[in-house]
């Protein structure tokens, strides 16, 4: 069990700086998810925690002890690789028990731990197989088994589910959540997939091009994104962002409509408005609302996604709960739920909002 602290960590390859000013305090037993676009430095950060990549500057501490220059084997951290990295010449049991073999734990104990982990992960019948004789999902389980068997201080996962198909991914996601509940270990998890991030995380860290954009609980990030990047990165479908001009007590949309935003302290610097597709209501076309025409309509059963073209404003996506009988070409009235709107300044910051007004 471990508390992991990153203090002003930076990483450069030669003159190229890939991470900077990383400050993160991960509590014992916390599940932290790192998300961000490809190439933002998620894997690099994880590998620095693992000890596979030297830390250029800053302090890395586990339980208050500086670990910057400690070898991976002495950090007592387990890692599940995206590629699984199973040892191809060893059977499942030996793959899982390898760390105990290296530590020279008693064979008896190793056997019972392997059997136990095999049972937890549903691998009991496959213990004598080689990795090449397993399916992708089974390999993934073996990789997890290899990590849990040694009861490490912390777990690192680098996109562990990205090679699985959708159904298996959901199943393994639940399995990981269950594992975390059972082991109560510190876990750091890298993913592209925001559903994974939102469902698994106690806290999410959003990275972009080497900087932390925001750290917070999934709901925090959804309801109170710190900036336009986080606002657009978290949430699916993506938040609509349209240009606006500032006005007293609200903003003026490009088509001239005034939108009152009483929950915001100050909209003086507003240049853009962000509104999630699920925070727009579809109303009667002749009502007092934005006039729009449906372009593409997706019926998902539980929801309906409408890609609408708003007069004077451009494309806006709307998500309506349930099934509504809209067709492409239909005229619609759209009404923005003002309390759920976000406004951004020219440099992309979210303008201060009154917390009590959040939906």
């Amino acid at each position: 069990m471990a508390r992991i602290e990153l203090k002003n960590i930076a990483k450069s390859y030669g003159t190229v700086e890939v991470l900077r000013n990383i400050d993160l305090d991960i509590q014992d037993g916390e599940f932290v998810v790192l998300v961000g676009p490809s190439g933002c430095g998620k894997s690099t950060l994880l590998r620095m925690i693992a000890g596979l990549e030297p830390i250029t500057s800053g302090a890395f501490e586990i339980d208050g002890k500086r670990m910057n220059d400690v070898r991976p084997r002495d950090r007592d951290i387990a890692m599940v690789f995206q590629s699984y990295a199973l040892y191809p010449h060893m059977d499942v049991a030996r793959n899982m028990g390898f760390s105990m073999e290296i530590r020279r734990d008693a064979a008896e104990m190793r056997k019972s731990r392997v059997a136990e982990a095999g049972k937890t992960l549903g691998l009991s019948k496959l213990l004598r197989r080689l990795p090449k004789e397993l399916s992708g999902g089974q390999r993934q389980r073996v990789a997890m088994g290899r990590a849990i068997i040694r009861d490490p201080r912390a777990f690192l996962f680098d996109e562990p589910l990205s090679n699985l198909d959708a159904a298996l991914r959901v199943e393994m996601r639940l399995e990981i959540a269950r594992l975390h509940q059972k082991l109560k270990a510190t876990m750091i998890y890298v993913t592209h997939d925001q559903v994974e991030a939102l469902t698994l995380a106690d806290r999410i860290v959003v990275l972009d091009s080497g900087d932390i954009q925001q750290v917070g609980s999934p709901l925090d990030l959804y309801e109170r994104p710190a900036n336009k990047f986080v606002a657009q990165f978290i949430g699916s479908p993506t938040m609509n962002v349209v240009p606006v001009s500032a006005a007293s007590g609200g903003v003026i949309l490009a088509d001239g409509t005034f939108l009152a935003l009483p929950h915001l302290d100050d909209t003086g610097l507003a240049v853009e408005l962000g509104i999630r597709p699920e925070h727009i209501d579809v109303v009667d076309p002749d009502a007092d609302a934005l006039a729009a025409v449906a372009d593409v309509v997706e019926h998902l059963g539980s929801d309906t996604n409408i890609y609408a073209l708003v007069e004077g404003l451009g494309p806006i996506m709307v998500r309506v709960h349930g099934n509504i009988p809209a067709k492409p070409g239909d005229r619609l009235g759209l009404r923005i739920q003002a309390p759920n709107a976000h406004v951004f300044s020219a440099d992309g910051r979210t303008l201060q909002r009154d917390m009590t007004g959040a939906a």
Partner: protein
């Protein structure tokens, strides 16, 4: 691909015809070697181009084994080839691993120099090599051949080993290190077992190269008791006024270690040892 093969029997036939043609073409000289070796001396010319001699004999083999210095040449060659193969592979594995896994100053320069050594025709450096070996007092010794062969085979063998190491995902080593291995333990327990095909191929390649080398052996060895097989073979020309039958019999016998060697290592050459390590 398998699809079009199923659909086009003509293509399959053509493919096999091409393979058969190639095999016949490549193996015919070998066949002729064997044929002459089992033909009695007096029939070599009278039999002409018959595919199988009218009379079969093993006397050439008996003569080669018991009346010539063949066994001495043979064991000299064995010592030199095995020594060279072992030494070269050891160095090449170390260097190949370093090239594959580490970034260090001068890496590109070293690779360039190693490539350059492969570009010179051997004839150009024969004299300097002779001078060096003579200066070391190593003329007429098997050691001199092992040293020279090792030096000449290391660059290619290193590139070969490097490509095998490159083929092993770095993740495997890193996983082993996360599992508690030092880098060396990871190398020994995870990487080495997976490199066996590469080690086998390199050993085989170097062994064969050393086994059939003539130029240096001819130049550095002039005493009969340290002659290697290719040099010894030439003595059949002078001593017995080109004794074709014995020469061919000796040739056939000389093929045996190469064959044995490849049979021994071929199970390590089987590809796909790393499959299942990563996703796919």
């Amino acid at each position: 691909m398998g699809f079009s093969q199923l659909k086009r029997p003509a293509l399959v036939v053509g493919k096999y015809a091409a393979i058969v043609f190639y095999l016949v073409f490549a193996l015919f000289p070998l066949y002729w070697l064997v044929k002459i070796a089992v033909t009695p001396d007096r029939l070599i010319y009278t039999d002409g181009t018959r595919l199988w001699p009218s009379e079969f004999t093993l006397s050439n083999f008996v003569a080669v084994l018991f009346q010539t210095d063949f066994l001495s040449y043979f064991s000299n060659s064995l010592i030199v080839s095995l020594g060279t193969a072992a030494l070269t592979t050891l160095f090449a594995a170390g260097a190949g691993y370093a090239f594959s896994r580490f970034d260090f100053g001068g890496k590109k320069l070293i690779i360039a120099i190693m490539l350059i050594t492969q570009m010179f025709p051997l004839l150009m450096i024969i004299a300097p090599i002779y001078k060096i070996i003579a200066g070391l007092g190593l003329l007429n010794s098997l050691t001199s051949l092992i040293i020279v062969y090792t030096a000449f085979n290391i660059p290619f063998a290193t590139f070969l080993m490097q490509s095998f190491f490159d083929g092993i995902p770095k993740d495997l080593e890193e996983a082993a290190m996360m599992d508690g291995c030092s880098r060396f333990e990871a190398l020994r327990k995870v990487i080495l077992p997976l490199t066996l095909p590469g080690l086998g191929a390199t050993l085989g390649f170097v062994f064969t190269a050393a086994w059939s080398e003539l130029l240096f052996a001819l130049m550095l060895i002039s005493k009969n008791d340290t002659m290697t097989f290719p040099v010894g073979l030439l003595t059949f020309v002078s001593k017995f006024s080109v004794d074709w039958g014995q020469m061919m019999a000796a040739g056939v016998l000389a093929l045996i270690p190469s064959c044995l060697f490849f049979i021994f290592i071929q199970r390590y050459l089987v590809q796909g040892l790393t499959s299942g390590a990563v996703k796919g």
